[in-house]
Amino acid sequence: MNTSLKTTSLHQWHKDAGAKMADFGGFDMPLWYEAGVKNEHLAVLKSAGIFDTSHMACINVGGKDSFALINFCFTRDIVSLKTGRCVYGAFLDEQGHCIDDAIVYKFGETQFMICVNAGMGAAIASHLDSKKKQMDVSIEDLSGKIAKMDIQGKNSAKILAKLIKNPEIVFDKMPYFSFKGHFSNAPDGIENVTLADGTPILLSRSGYTGEFGFEIFIAPAAIVALWEKTLIAGEEFGITACGLGARDSLRAGACLPLSHQDIGHWKFTNHPWSFALPYTADKKGFTKDFFGAKALAPADDDKFVYPFVGDTLRKANTGENTEVLDENCQNLGQVLTCATDMGIGWLENKIVSINTPDLPQDLKIKGLSCGFVMVSKPLEPGVKLSLKEGKRSIDVTFVTDIRPNRTARMKLDNFI
C-alpha cells in the first residue's frame, strides 16, 4: 500500500475481509471482496449490498445567505427544495466545466450540507468561499469528520428496520431523495433517527446503484459497529459487502456518471444528465443565473456524451487509444466509461434485467458492457458504433437508458 493514501474507519475491516484494495481519490479502498464483483453486483440487484463510502466528503454551509450562495454556485435551482429533501447537481467553474458533482441536503432555510466526491471537500469549500464575497455564510469542510455507508437493494429497508429505533415512523413518508435525522445534533426541524443503541444517523433515501436503498451518515467512531451489525441483520437476506468494482458496474448500468470520468473538465452540457441543469420547461433557457452558466451556450466545438450498451459482455478499455467509430469508420471521440452490468442481457432488440418480469425460461443473462462515450457530433438513439483498440473491437449501440426495471424510484412501501 502507498503509505500516503488516506484510509476510512473501515479500512482494517476491508483488509481483514481479504478485499483487493486500490487507490481511489486518494483513499485506499476495496475494489472487491472474496465474493467477487459479479456476486456483489448481483446481490444488490437481487437482495442487498453495503458499500463503504466514507471517502466521500461533506461541507456544512450555514448562515443567512447560505441559500443564495448555493443557488448561485450549484447547477440545480434549489428555490423549491424543501427541508428534509436533497438534490443532485454540480458545481461549475467559469468555463462551465464541472469541478465536481454533489448532493445538496437542506436542513433548514439557513442550513445546508453538501456531499461531494473523495478528496473534493477542500476544493468545493474553497470554491464556495471564493464566491461568497460579502455574504453572511459559514462554510465548514467536514472531511474526515463523518463516515458514510450505503445499503442498496430491495431488502435494504427490511434489514435497516432491525437496526434503527421506530422504523415504521422513520420509513413513513420517505420518498426518493428525502432524508431524516442527523449524524450529530439534529438541527431544528429535523427529527432524530437513531440506531437501537442511540447512535444518531442521517438516513438518506438515495444511492449510486440505481436500486432502492439508503445512504447513512454517521460518526466515524460508530461506523464499524453499524457495518458489522448490518451484515448480521442482513445475513438472512444474503447481504454482501460490495467494493468499488460493483459500485462502478451498478452505476454504469443505472446510467449515472462518475465525476472526473464522465463529467469533468469540459462543458457540463449535451450529456444524459440534463436534469442536473436548471432548464426552463421549454429547455431554451435556465430558471436562474448561476456561476458557469454563460459558458454553457452552444458552440461549434461542443462535445456530446451518450450512453451505450454492447452486443455482449465484452468491454473496451477507456482512454485515448480506443476509437469510437461510426459505420463509415470515422473516429468520433473517446470512451469515458466501459463496465459490464452482469445483470442485463439482450432479448431480441430489447435490454432486459434479471429483475424484468416474465422472462423466457431459457434466457441466459450473462451481462452486457455499457458506459458512456464522448463524441464530436450529435447522434440519434439506436446508432451502432464500434469501440476499437488495435485489433480488438466491440460493437455497441447508443441507447437512452441501460438497465431496465430499476428500483431506486419505487415507493418505499413496496420494500417493507
Binding site: G18, A19, K20, M21, L31, W32, G36, V37, K38, G245, S249, T312, L313, R314, K315, A316, N317, A339, T340, M342, G367, E389, K391, R392
Partner: protein
Amino acid sequence: MKEISDLNFPEDVKYTKDHEWSKSCGDIVTIGLSDYAQDQLGEIVFVELPEVGDSFSQGDEFGSVESVKAVSEVYIPISGEIVGINEDLEDAPELVNEDCYEGGWIIKIKPEDPSQLDDLMDKAAYLNMLKG
C-alpha cells in the same frame, strides 16, 4: 488481494514477465496465466482465443482476457503453431481464476524452437521478479 506467499506457483512450469506460464509435455507446450495474473485481474468474464492452425512468434499477442476490471492482452511465451484451444473457457471463463494451471489452461502449441523455453523464468526467478 492475496499476498504472494498465498499464491500457487508450481515448479514444473516456466513463467514470463507478462505472467503467462508454459508447460512442456512431449512435443506440445500448454500455456496459461499464472496465479498472480488471475489474482490481479479479478474475475475473468471472457477469454478471446486464437484459432487452431494460427502461428505466432515469441512475444506476440495471441488473445485477450477480460476481467470485471479490465481487458488484458496475453502474449505467447515461445514461437509456435496453435494445436489446441481450451473450448471450456467459452462457457466457463472463471476456470482461469479457479484452476489456472489445470482446467484453466488457454492454448496448446507446437513450438517452433523448444529451446526458447530456456529463456523463460523458473519459479524462483519469477518469485524474485514479483517480490521486486
